[in-house]
Amino acid sequence: MTSTTREVAAVVVPQKGLGGDLRAIKIVVQRDLIRTFQDRLRFVSVLVQPLLFLFVLGAGLGTLTKGATGSLDLQTFMFPGILATSTLFTAIFSAVSIVWDREFGFLREMLVAPVRRSSIILGKALAGATLATIQGVVVLALAPLVDVPLTVGLAATLMAEVFLLSFMLTAFGLAIVARIKQVQTVMGLLQVLLLPLSFLSGALFPLSNLPSWLSIAVKLNPLTYGVQPVRTAVFDHLDVTPEVRARLNPPLTWDGWIVPTWLQLVLVAVIGIVLLGIAVRQFQKVE
C-alpha cells in the first residue's frame, strides 16, 4: 500500500450559511463548463444549425424575397432571430444534463450534500445560460458578414439579452425534465417541443401581417419576448427606412398596446424565475 501514516487533518466542521450555497452554485456551474469544453465536438456541432439557417437558408431564400425586405438582405434580417434561437438547443440540452446525472448516479452526490436543492437547480440554470451565451458570442462574431454593424454597446446589449433568454430557456428545460428519469424519454419530448417553440418565436419571420391564429400563438410563446428585444436592438443600429423597419421589426403589441422592450425583458426574467421555482418544487417531489 502506498499510503503513509500521517496526521489526521483536524476534523473540520464546515460552517453553514449563504456562502456555502454560493460556493455550491459556483461549483455546479464550473463542472458543466469543464464538461462542455472537454466535449468540444458537441459544442461545435450545436453551432452548425444556426450557421445553416443563416448562410444557406438565409442566402437561398434571400433570392426569393428580394424586394420584400427592401434595401435589407434577408440574412441581415434573420441574424437577430438566429442569434436568439441558437441558444435554444444549448440551453435546453444543458437542462437535460441533469437527467444524465440522475441516470449515472451523480445527481445523488449533489442531492445528499448539505446545500439547498434550489442552489443546485439555480447552478444548473446559470450553467445553461452561460454556455448558451458563450455560443451566442460565436454567432455574434459573424455579424459583420451579414452587414450588421457591431459596436461594443450593441454587443453588450445583445449578450445581456441572450443571457436572460437562455436563463429562461434552461429553467424551462429544468421544469420539464425534473421528474423524468430516462434520457431517452426527454429526447423524444424535446424534439416535439423545440421546433414549434423556435418557429413560433418570430425568429424567422417578422411579426407584421401574420394570420391572426399565428399572431396569437406567437404572442403566447415566451420565447417571442426574448427574440423581439434582440431584433429591436439590432434594428436600432441598422440604417433602414421607417417603412422597412415597420414591416420587418414592427413593435410587439397586446391588443393594440405596444409592449415596451423593458417590459418584455422583465417578462422573460419573471417567467424564468417562475419556471425555476417550478423546477425546484418538482425536484423536491421526486427525491
Binding site: 502506498t2 489526521v8 483536524a10 461549483i27 448539505p114
Partner: protein, 318 residues
C-alpha cells in the same frame, strides 16, 4: 456520546411497514455491520439515517444531530458511499473530490492537504489527474470512499462497499477500511452480504421483517447459536473414539467433538486422550449459522429471493 442513536424508528410505505420500531445505538469509533435479507428494512433504515427518507415515527440521531430536524447538520457530519457509483466519470478523480469539497463548504485552506491525504490513503494519489472513466471498479470504489471522507465525517456509511468486486479488490478495500480506523476518529456503519466481512465488524445487527432480531459482537452472536466443533486426526481412531464416548463422531474429516469452549478443551484433550493426535482444528459456528438461525434463511438465499415483491417495489421508488 453514541454516534448513532435510534429509538422506536418506524417507516411505512402505504400499507407496508418497512421498519417496525427499531432501537439501537452505535458507539463512536465502532465499526458496525448491518445485515439482513433483502426487503428486511435495512436500506430504509439507512436512508432515514442519511436523511434521504423521512421516518413516520420514532427518532434517530446521527453524530448528535436529529435526522429530521437538523438535516443539514447530519449531512455535514456523515460520509456516504453507495452501492451504485455516484462519481462523474468525465471528470478527473481530483475534480470529483474538489466538487465534493465545494458542495460541503469545506474551508478552502484545508481542501488541498485533505485531498492529498485521502487520495494517498486509498492509494490513488498518483492517478489524481486521470479521468474516472479510466478507473477499474475497485479504484472507483476506493475513490468514492476517499470522497466520502473528504469533509472529515463523524460517521461513514458504506452500503455494500465491496459488492461486485473480485476477492483481491475486496481484500484491499478492507485494508483501507482498517487503515482508516487507525487514522481517523470515525464510526463506520456498513451493510454487507459477505459474512467474512461482517466478521471484521466490532458489532453486528441483523434485521428481519422490519425489526432488529440480533445485535452483538460477532463472537457473542456465534456463541449464542451453538457450540464449537473440534476435529482431530489420531493414530488410532478406534481407541480414541472409545475413550471419548458419545459426544464424538467419526467423519471423513476425522473425529468431530462438539464442546462449549474449543480452546480450553483442546489442551485438556492432549493430556487425557492417551492416543497420539496428529492434527487438530477448531471451528466455530459461522456467522452464516447465526444469520440462518435468526432469519430462517441463509444470506445467499435471501439475496436471491426477495420475499415481498410489493415491498421491494415500494423501496425502489425514490
Amino acid at each position: 456520546m453514541a454516534a448513532v442513536e435510534v429509538r422506536g424508528l418506524r417507516k411505512s410505505y402505504g400499507d407496508i411497514e418497512a421498519v417496525r420500531g427499531v432501537d439501537f445505538d452505535v458507539q463512536a469509533g465502532e465499526t458496525f455491520g448491518f445485515l439482513g435479507p433483502n426487503g428486511a428494512g435495512k436500506s430504509t433504515t439507512i436512508k432515514i439515517l442519511c436523511t434521504l427518507a423521512k421516518a413516520n415515527g420514532g427518532s434517530a440521531k446521527v453524530a448528535g444531530y436529529d435526522v429530521t430536524t437538523q438535516r443539514d447538520d447530519v449531512r455535514r457530519h456523515i460520509g456516504l458511499v453507495f452501492q451504485d457509483t455516484t462519481l462523474d466519470s468525465y471528470l478527473s478523480a481530483e475534480m470529483n473530490l474538489k466538487f465534493h469539497a465545494e458542495l460541503y463548504g469545506m474551508p478552502r485552506e484545508v481542501v488541498g492537504p485533505r485531498l492529498e491525504q485521502v487520495m494517498r490513503m486509498v492509494g490513488l494519489w498518483e492517478r489524481r489527474a486521470s479521468k474516472v472513466q479510466t478507473f477499474s471498479g475497485g479504484m472507483k470504489r476506493r475513490l468514492e470512499i476517499a470522497r466520502g471522507l473528504m469533509h472529515s465525517p463523524r460517521v461513514l456509511f458504506l452500503d455494500e462497499p465491496t459488492v461486485g468486486l473480485d476477492p483481491q479488490t475486496r481484500a484491499s478495500i478492507w485494508e483501507y477500511i482498517h487503515e482508516l480506523r487507525k487514522q481517523e476518529e470515525i464510526t463506520i456503519f456498513l451493510t454487507t452480504h459477505y459474512m467474512d466481512e461482517a466478521e471484521q465488524c466490532d458489532r453486528i445487527a441483523i434485521m428481519d421483517e422490519g425489526a432488529l432480531v440480533a445485535l452483538d459482537t460477532p463472537a457473542a452472536l456465534k456463541a449464542s447459536v451453538g457450540t464449537d466443533r473440534v476435529t482431530i486426526q489420531t493414530e488410532d481412531n478406534e481407541a480414541a473414539l472409545a475413550k471419548l464416548g458419545e459426544e464424538a463422531v467419526l467423519t471423513s474429516e476425522g473425529i468431530v467433538i462438539s464442546v462449549e469452549h474449543g480452546e480450553s478443551y483442546v489442551p485438556q484433550l492432549f493430556g487425557s486422550l492417551g492416543v497420539p493426535i496428529t492434527s487438530v482444528s477448531i471451528s466455530r459456528p459461522s456467522l452464516d449459522d447465526v444469520f440462518l438461525s435468526f432469519t430462517g434463511r441463509t444470506i445467499r438465499d435471501s439475496e436471491q429471493t426477495p420475499t415481498m415483491p410489493a415491498f421491494m417495489a415500494a423501496m425502489g421508488r425514490r
